[in-house]
Symmetry: C2
Subunit: 123 residues, 2 copies
DNA sequence: TCATAGAGTTAGCCAAGACTAACAAACTGC
DNA sequence: GCAGTTTGTTAGTCTTGGCTAACTCTATGA
């Protein structure tokens, strides 16, 4: 879990799932992301070690402050980038797929610049 | 060499170096990319197996048609994306760095849409 | 001519992040 | 209350793509 992309995807997924249902379990993440249970289990272990999530027998998997900040940041990028690509005429599926890749790699500088541009030119 | 990013970076580098000097050698790629000689050596083996490059004792490493098409496509994206980010006010280094990541991941659809948008709105 | 430098390869290692197989523990329903 | 399902973990494998160490081969120059 040294590189960001994988971690960010897991955290983003936890955020999305926590908005849909009250508790988030490993198996839900597993289904949502299409990864095997052991893969998710190990990832959760690393996220817990890193202080990004906590596990509670009642609440399931919960984002810590640190984890939530990352998740919300990535999710915000995801939504914003998807909307922008759709506004440019890209079909929704491709827009979401591409946004999902771009969201992990671009710098804050670039993201802000893109956001400002689209604000100026509208949709 | 199953995923595209690494392959595309090598091919792009070979294209760039072949425009700068007459012949391209492994060690040039090694220096340019900051990778060790064995890493480049292995990558060249895989690119050769895949039909992306050929090696000639006189000409050094040469892109095949297949390799050149990918390299030129990626390089075009790189240049275009970099220019656009710079036009949005991103500093040149960040623009180049971010373009270098984005160039490998976005679909043709998205790239075309972005290009069309910027053509319309100018810089 | 022979030493040394430079280029490239071979062999083997490592980390990240997926996977399956198999097990353990807990919850559910008859 | 016990059987069977669901959930999660452990153990170990695979692939990608880096790395170092150590070798070979070629070319150069004193």
């Amino acid at each position: 879990m040294a590189y960001d992309e994988s971690r960010e995807m897991y955290l983003e997924t936890i955020l999305i799932l926590s908005r849909k249902s009250k508790t988030v379990r490993s198996v839900d993440i597993s289904e949502y992301m299409g990864y095997s249970k052991p893969s998710v289990s190990r990832a959760m272990g690393l996220l817990k070690d890193g202080g990004y999530i906590e596990e509670d027998y009642r609440e399931g998997i919960v984002l810590t402050k640190k984890g939530r900040e990352i998740a919300e940041n990535v999710y915000d990028r995801h939504i914003t980038l998807t909307k922008m690509l759709e506004a440019l005429g890209v079909d929704p599926k491709t827009a979401a797929d591409d946004a999902c890749k771009i969201e992990h790699f671009i710098s804050d500088t670039t993201f802000s610049a893109i956001k400002a541009h689209f604000k100026k030119f509208g949709e």
